[in-house]
């Protein structure tokens, strides 16, 4: 079937839901739609299909889908996670009154994400990309009465929009160079000679903003103001991956323009910044957000190193455990009414939740036999030939393991508080069941590693790699255990600790930059006011001349007669000598 078909269930659901009023019904319709969409997936055929939108003077603007195995991979994530997310949402929102707005926005997002996944030309790509930004804005600021949420939404879209405009400029420049919007055409053209460097740089900027990389990475932690399912879906599994996905699809462009090293450098830098932040962060979701930033960074650096297969597998695997961990954080926040990990207790009360969370943590850290393990191996092997990079990656792995176990240990403290424990025990099934499913997938996904050739990339692992990986994870675990579970070593790193909290610096930079831009605005404004005054000043000048002119008429008629005679004489002189 042509790929656009997968959009249909969500489109229909969107229309239906806008007419309904009952929150629960709306949720059921959405869940049903997502299941239908998923069911359609196996029938999507590879290849391209385009729908013409409009033509102008030599430019054919069409919506085009182009399906290869990689698109299928992303579609699996989008369509596969959707049912879980929708189901969890049903239980997550306690007051059902806002469910309609939520599901409308969620369905719109899913629609856009699916469209993005199947896009075969820049037009479709851009349309979907823009809608990803917009729905993300709406969903992050979902609780708009909350000041921090609206501010976060504003900040996010202001940053991401820079990438959106960079993207459209890039599209225009690519079109100018190659006269086409289709990915396949552009890719084949870039090999031939004239490399549009500026367009590529703009494309990279777009990728960096969408996937929250340096220097645009701080929006992702702020996006945690949105509801948990939004964080689970958009900001870990799908939307933020759009940039990475673009890097994969358009890889040959970067290859031919020799810009791949940008990804490596920025990726590694971002990963370091993210990990250090995660180690100090206290907000339960923000830790996970920094973790996502780190993951995306590693994916991008792997792509930069050319190891697309590894990146893709990581891309695939990470989605599941990350959303699982977010689900878990949702439960934690519910029970404890706090988002500060130091004030979160009692995770162990609900065994299902605890076990699922544990699975997720182990997967993220990279323990065998969870899919994270294989993902990390893949990433590590992409840098096997560069000792420095490999060392950095290894340190990052330790750090990752450390902070995620910290996250687990601190939140799973016991408590005597009955209220907390009751909530844990009485969480709705709609929230628990998806977690269990995801926990299972997190193990099953490991198998995909060995069959990844289907997607076009052969992945292997060696014994040395396995041992190194496990060692790194264990080291991190031990640190975490000692520091947080047993409180044996007080983490006293002084200045390094302060420096590690580098999100302050970046946010400070954002703030300064924003103020700088604002000051420019004020400056221009003042200049404009002067320009305004110029008009008034000019008017005054004319008025002065006017006063001069009328001053001649002083009421004395003999003076007038005198002027007449003088005028006559002057005129005579004029005529005679001119």
């Amino acid at each position: 079937m042509i790929a656009f078909i997968v959009l249909l269930p969500f489109l229909v659901a969107l229309l239906v839901v806008s007419l309904l009023k009952n929150g629960k019904l709306i949720a059921y319709v959405s869940i049903a739609a997502s299941l239908i969409g998923l069911a359609m997936l196996p029938f999507v055929s590879l290849g391209s299909y385009s729908i013409n939108w409009f033509n102008v003077g030599g430019a054919e603007i069409s919506l085009m889908s182009s399906i290869s195995e990689i698109n299928i991979l992303l579609l699996i994530l989008v369509l596969g996670l959707a049912p879980f997310i929708y189901t969890y949402s049903l239980g997550y929102f306690k007051e059902k009154s806002s469910l309609k707005r939520y599901y409308v926005e969620m369905l719109a997002f899913t629609l856009a994400m699916a469209m993005f996944a199947i896009s075969g030309n820049f037009i479709t790509f851009f349309v979907a990309w823009e809608f990803l930004s917009v729905t993300s804005y709406l969903l992050i600021g979902f609780w708009y009465t909350k000041g921090s949420a609206s501010e976060a939404a504003r900040k996010v879209i202001t940053i991401v929009f820079i990438g959106d405009i960079a993207l459209i400029a890039s599209i225009a420049l690519f079109w100018n160079a190659y006269n086409t919007f289709t990915f396949s055409n552009i890719i084949s053209e870039t090999g031939k000679g004239a490399e549009p460097i500026v367009a590529t740089i703009l494309l990279i900027i777009a990728i960096l903003t969408k996937s929250a990389q340096f220097p645009f990475h701080e929006w992702l932690p702020d996006a945690m103001e949105g509801p948990v399912p939004v964080s689970a879906y958009l900001h870990s599994a799908t939307m933020v991956k759009a940039g990475v996905f673009a890097a994969v699809i358009l890889f040959p462009i970067f290859l031919h323009t020799k810009t791949l090293w940008y990804f490596v450098v920025i990726g590694l830098l971002t990963a370091i910044l993210a990990v250090t932040n995660a180690m100090r962060e206290k907000h339960v979701k923000r830790i996970l957000a920094y973790s996502t930033v780190e993951e995306l960074a590693l994916m991008l650096s792997a792509i930069g190193a050319g190891a697309i297969g590894a990146a893709l597998y990581f891309f695939f695997a990470q989605a599941f455990y990350k959303s699982l961990l977010f689900f878990s954080s949702g439960v934690m926040i519910d029970a404890n009414e706090s988002e500060n990990i130091e004030k979160i207790y009692g995770l162990k009360k609900n065994r299902f939740v605890y076990i699922s969370t544990l699975f997720g943590v182990l997967a993220l850290a990279g323990f065998i036999p969870f899919d994270g393990f294989f993902a990390n191996i893949g990433i590590g092997s992409s840098f096997a030939n560069n000792l420095a990079a490999y060392a950095i990656i290894s340190l990052i792995s330790i750090g990752t393991s450390f902070f995620i176990f910290r996250w687990l240990f601190v939140t799973s403290k016991d408590t005597k508080n009955r209220n907390v424990n009751i909530v844990y025990l009485s969480e709705p099934k709609s929230m628990i069941v998806p977690m269990l499913f995801l926990a299972a997938i997190v193990i099953l996904a490991s198998a995909v590693f060995f069959y990844f050739a289907y997607f076009g990339y052969m992945l292997t692992l060696s014994i040395e790699e396995s041992i190194i990986e496990t060692a790194l994870v264990v080291v991190g675990f031990l640190f975490g255990y000692l520091v947080y579970s047993k409180q044996k070593i007080k983490a006293r790193l002084g200045i390094i600790e302060k420096l590690a909290y580098n999100s302050i610096f970046i946010n400070l930079f954002y703030y300064v930059f924003a103020r700088f831009v604002y000051l420019i605005g004020e400056g221009v404004n003042i200049f404009d006011l002067y320009l305004n005054d110029l008009f008034d000043w000019f008017g005054h000048l004319i008025n002065r001349l006017g006063d001069l002119a009328r001053g001649i008429v002083n009421g004395d008629v003999s003076f007038y007669a005198l002027i007449v005679i003088i005028g006559m004489i002057l005129t005579w002189i004029l005529v005679v000598f001119a």
Binding site: A59, F131, I168, E522, V524
Partner: protein, 469 residues
């Protein structure tokens, strides 16, 4: 053959006569007139689509070679369409805003409609000039009689700048007549034989007309009249000034570029002028404390981009400019309408005094957000098609110069989202003094639907534009 274009001109005048007799129904008459205009226009459009351009000509002043000529071609089609739509929205919305002296206001409105339509439909430069000044005067009256607190200063400034602009235009028109081999005021003649004008005359005409249009659009550095005029104007007035009158300059610019080869030679410099104005408008908007002033700078910024699109001198850019004129007219009218609604409902348009409006009126909040998205180019709105065409055309002619308008859009987005948060989402709830009525809602919805409609089905407009260069 029914003189359908002439009918479009006469209709508002007939409306004026009827309104003078039946004063009580003046606002209703205005709405009816606008609605009929739309219907007649659609008929004319249908005729245009099937039969090519419509030309109606009557002898007027043979002594100076002036015929009263009306033309509906691919260029005037767009401008006429946007005028008719904006006037419809204004006449409906005015029923909500204007409660005193309705007769006078609606009389001026209908006169202005006649003037604007006459201008865009005119096929003769002399006639075009007649309606240009006439529209200015009509808007001047509307501005100083129905405007806000500082209206005297704003309207004086408006009329002086405008008369200066039209005077430059007048000299340019005379020069064109003098230097065209065929000695004609006809626009069609100008466009087809304009290249025959000697170079130094072309330069003079170019400078005069360019300055004239830059004042009108407005473009930095001749824009100083606009923020005052737009903010002090009555609700309909601002929508007309920003949405329709700015297009006088755009229309003139298109004719200029199509006719004079010299304009092509200087296209790059002119393009730079426009994009600088675009960024300037965006930057100045950052520091504004008054919502309406901010929107006027937004308008300046977007007009700069449209001017840039014209300077690209290729089909994509020109189509982008024409489509963008329509899109800009709709979007800026919507935003100004919303700003005035806010002012009426909450008593002020100063940003710091507004807050948490979403709790008070959801419709206005959602529509304003929609307006912002449309302004920054969200797909499925007309703004996207405009931006895309401008970027494509701009890239084709000027390459990386498109990064400048791109920066302008980014700046626009940043302050628009910032004020959206400040006005609608954050802060303490502002006091509500009034309620929306069906007229205001209808007007807003009309604009929104059109923005979406042409955003989803651009061929409807683009096919009528066809290939211009």
């Amino acid at each position: 053959m029914i003189p359908i274009l002439f009918a479009m001109l006469l209709l508002p005048l007939a409306g004026v006569l009827v309104a003078l007799i039946a004063r009580r129904w003046a606002s209703g008459i205005a709405v009816v007139v606008s609605l009929l205009e739309l219907i007649i226009f659609l008929l004319a459009a249908w005729q245009f689509a099937n039969g090519g351009k419509i030309v109606e000509s009557y002898t007027f002043i043979p002594a100076i070679n002036v015929n009263f000529e009306l033309i509906l071609n691919n260029i005037t089609f767009v401008f006429t369409l946007l005028s008719v739509v904006v006037f419809l929205a204004v006449s409906i919305a005015s029923r909500f805003f204007v409660s005193e002296e309705r007769t006078g206001y609606n009389l001026l409105l209908m006169l202005a409609e006649a003037g604007v339509l006459g201008l865009f439909l005119s096929g003769n430069l002399f006639i075009l000039y007649l309606f240009w000044d006439f529209s200015i005067v009509a808007l001047f009256f509307m501005l100083f009689h129905f405007g806000g607190y500082d209206r005297r200063y704003a309207s004086l400034k408006f009329i002086i700048y405008s008369i200066f602009s039209s005077s430059l235009l007048l000299i340019g028109i005379m020069l064109i007549y003098f230097y065209l081999p065929s000695h004609s005021f006809e626009i069609a003649q100008l466009m087809s034989t304009g290249y025959m004008i000697p170079k130094n005359a072309q330069l003079l005409i170019l400078v005069l007309l360019l300055f004239a249009f830059m004042i009108k659009m407005p473009v930095f550095p001749f824009h100083s009249w606009a923020p005052d005029a737009y903010s002090e104007a009555p609700p309909g007035g601002a929508m007309l000034l920003a949405g329709v009158l700015s297009k006088f300059g755009i229309y003139g610019l298109i004719i200029l570029f199509v006719s004079l080869p010299l304009a092509k030679e200087y296209a790059l410099y002119i393009a730079i002028l426009f994009v600088l104005s675009s960024v300037y408008g965006a930057a100045t908007a950052l520091g504004q404390k008054n919502l309406k002033r901010m929107l006027s700078y937004l308008s300046i910024s977007e007009i700069g981009m449209i001017g840039f699109a014209i300077a690209t001198m290729n089909t994509l850019g020109m189509s982008g400019a024409l489509f963008g004129s329509l899109s800009h007219a709709l979007i800026i009218s919507l935003l100004f309408l919303l700003a005035f609604v806010i002012e009426k409902l909450f008593g002020t348009s100063i940003i710091s005094r507004l807050g948490a409006l979403i709790k008070r009126d959801k419709l206005v909040s959602y529509l304003f957000l929609f307006g912002i998205f449309a302004a920054i180019g969200l797909p499925l709105t007309s703004g996207f098609v405009t931006d895309l065409l401008i970027f494509l055309g701009g890239a084709k002619s000027f390459g990386i110069l498109i990064l400048v308008p791109a920066t302008a859009i980014i700046i626009n987005a940043s302050y628009l989202f910032w004020i959206y948060k400040k006005i609608f989402l954050a802060g303490s709830e502002a006091e509500m003094f009034d309620l929306l009525d069906k007229n205001a809602k209808a007007s807003m919805i009309l604009l929104v639907l059109l923005i979406i409609f042409i955003g989803v089905f651009p061929p409807i407009i683009l096919n009528s534009i066809g290939a211009i260069i």
